[in-house]
């Protein structure tokens, strides 16, 4: 079971970040209907003098779909370096998976930003081997030049 959760965690992270790059219009398929997303607020231009990486909170698969579609061009240029990830079981019957991952991300031409991201993956009602993202929350800690 633990081995399984680890494989699911790895596979999820790989799929999730790859899809940003490969097909932003399909990322929302990973989320549950009532998912909550705290993500980079792509509406703001982020430049080199950015003091706070702007984030935005979005609720529901439909809004999440619109969000990724609107900023598809920028989302497609996302690059990710994962430095660590860990997981625990959570939710009803401990069948959901809580993930905590840290790393750095950047976009075409931007500096690399440290991030910390947590996810909750919930097995679907119809197939316990298929998971939906019901939470996706990111935070960008300050740079070393604090």
């Amino acid at each position: 079971m633990t081995t399984n959760a680890r494989e699911i965690t790895y596979a999820f992270l790989n799929t999730y970040y790859q899809r940003m790059n490969a097909d932003p219009l399909k990322i929302h398929h990973l989320y549950s209907a009532t998912a909550e997303l705290t993500h980079i607020n792509y509406q703001c231009e982020f430049d080199d003098n950015l003091e706070v990486m702007p984030t935005i909170k979005i609720t529901g698969k439909e809004n999440i779909s619109k969000f990724y579609a609107r900023y598809a061009k920028k989302v497609k240029t996302l690059r990710v370096k994962i430095d660590s990830c860990d997981f625990q079981f959570t939710g009803a019957n401990n069948t959901s998976i809580l993930i905590l991952t840290l790393g750095e991300m950047f976009w075409l031409g931007t500096p690399s930003y440290k991030f910390c991201q947590t996810f909750v993956l919930v097995p679907t009602a119809t197939n316990p081997k298929i998971f939906d993202v019901c939470n996706d929350m990111i935070y960008f800690p300050p740079d070393r030049a604090e």
Binding site: E7, R79, D83
Partner: protein, 38 residues
């Protein structure tokens, strides 16, 4: 998503590689902690 036999070793690059990362890392940035909760 497909869960078959993926191995994760750190650092693990997605959509990029060591060299591209090094270039991005060379660009400086400054992010301060948010002063309050959203």
């Amino acid at each position: 998503f497909n869960t078959e036999g993926l191995k994760l070793e750190y650092p693990f690059f997605v959509n990029t590689n060591e060299q591209e990362y090094a270039e991005a890392k060379a660009l400086r940035y400054r992010i301060k902690h948010r002063s309050s909760l959203d």
